[in-house]
Subunit: 249 residues, 2 copies
Amino acid sequence: MKRIEVIPIPGIPEVKAGADLGAEVLRALRRAGIPLLKHDVVVVKQKVVSKSEGRLVLLSKVKPRRRAVQLAKAERKDPRVVELVLREASEVVRSGHGVIITRTKQGFVCANSGVDRSNVGPGMAALLPTDPDRSARRIRAALEKGSGTELAVLVTDTFGRPWRLGQTDVAIGCSGISPLVSYAGKKDRFGYRLRVTEPAVVDELAAAAELAMGKLKGIPAAVVRGASYVRGDAGAKALVMPRERDLFR
Amino acid sequence: MKRIEVIPIPGIPEVKAGADLGAEVLRALRRAGIPLLKHDVVVVKQKVVSKSEGRLVLLSKVKPRRRAVQLAKAERKDPRVVELVLREASEVVRSGHGVIITRTKQGFVCANSGVDRSNVGPGMAALLPTDPDRSARRIRAALEKGSGTELAVLVTDTFGRPWRLGQTDVAIGCSGISPLVSYAGKKDRFGYRLRVTEPAVVDELAAAAELAMGKLKGIPAAVVRGASYVRGDAGAKALVMPRERDLFR
């Protein structure tokens, strides 16, 4: 019976725009004496990916438009942050109680379009990577080249959920792994045919990795070893619910 | 740097109503040579908990009311199953595309009030435990007594999410663990004060455990070892978004 291991990667330094994140992760793994094994899943937090891709914004340079000022007032937020939230959004899904839920240009529904001020330094905000699947592909290419082994890579962020308090990490980008595993049409041991069972494996891996990384320990990456998954390259964008099946749109 | 391990528990037999699930888990652990260590989190799937609590229903005994027949027709479902879904629901949140999203009497929003025909045998359906936090407390008491060590227990189920395809496991019951860890008011390493960061640790643990259990392997329980959590007994019901903060109600 296969065990799964979640291994935090310590010692990744503060990453600057233009940094080769794959190379940084490889160096940290080497220093920590953690080898990469075939089909390991390397999970990297969005924040460090955004930093490496230059997706930090100095708030003092942001000029909020009228709509941002109004929404910021209603939700008691910084109008410059709200301006960024609106720029990153394709629509505002809901707002209220100091929360702005948007659909990002990538298609994900989350708070504040993923714009976040934590762990980036004073007066700064981080935006999501423009194309987190592409980020994951790039990091995977670097890690596979450096390690000579076949891997999967996730880029993860922390999302809230409607109806349920708290947040969990989910995959906003992935490479080398199929985001969903479909059991539709498979039979259980009583012969009952499953219809909709389709675990979002990348989101479960993201959540597992978060447990080892935490929020304030400065650990932006982890290795998940021993998990079963299907290789593929649909990307996390394949998790976006198509409009015609969306009951909440 | 602490690693987390997810250990599937093999050899739990098919469970009957009235079975002492804690004792079954302990026996399986002993046979598999897996000791329980202090603060291990034992994760048990809802289905096996429901079975042990006699929450299986023979569909041939269910007489659907008019509303169930209508909804079943609209969503092309078995009217007897829909009858159970409605009985277990406090409200229907949405329906369409063959999906019925309800709020359960426990307060969780999920598909079909958690009523499910997989892995229960022909002509049968499983309902959620009446009080999954109580189920978790009972199992924990048995496991702590048998092992002489302090543990946490989760009862988990597979939930879909709006806007995102696929499902992940979440905790519908928990004991010995605080479902959320609040970072509100804590400062990041740049001095920025976090405001809403509150990981739903039990849901991340549930997702991690699912990776080791799968859907068709007949493994209804796992141990998660090495995860940091806060002890507490608020139960998973504390995850239900209060009405006054709910933007999707």
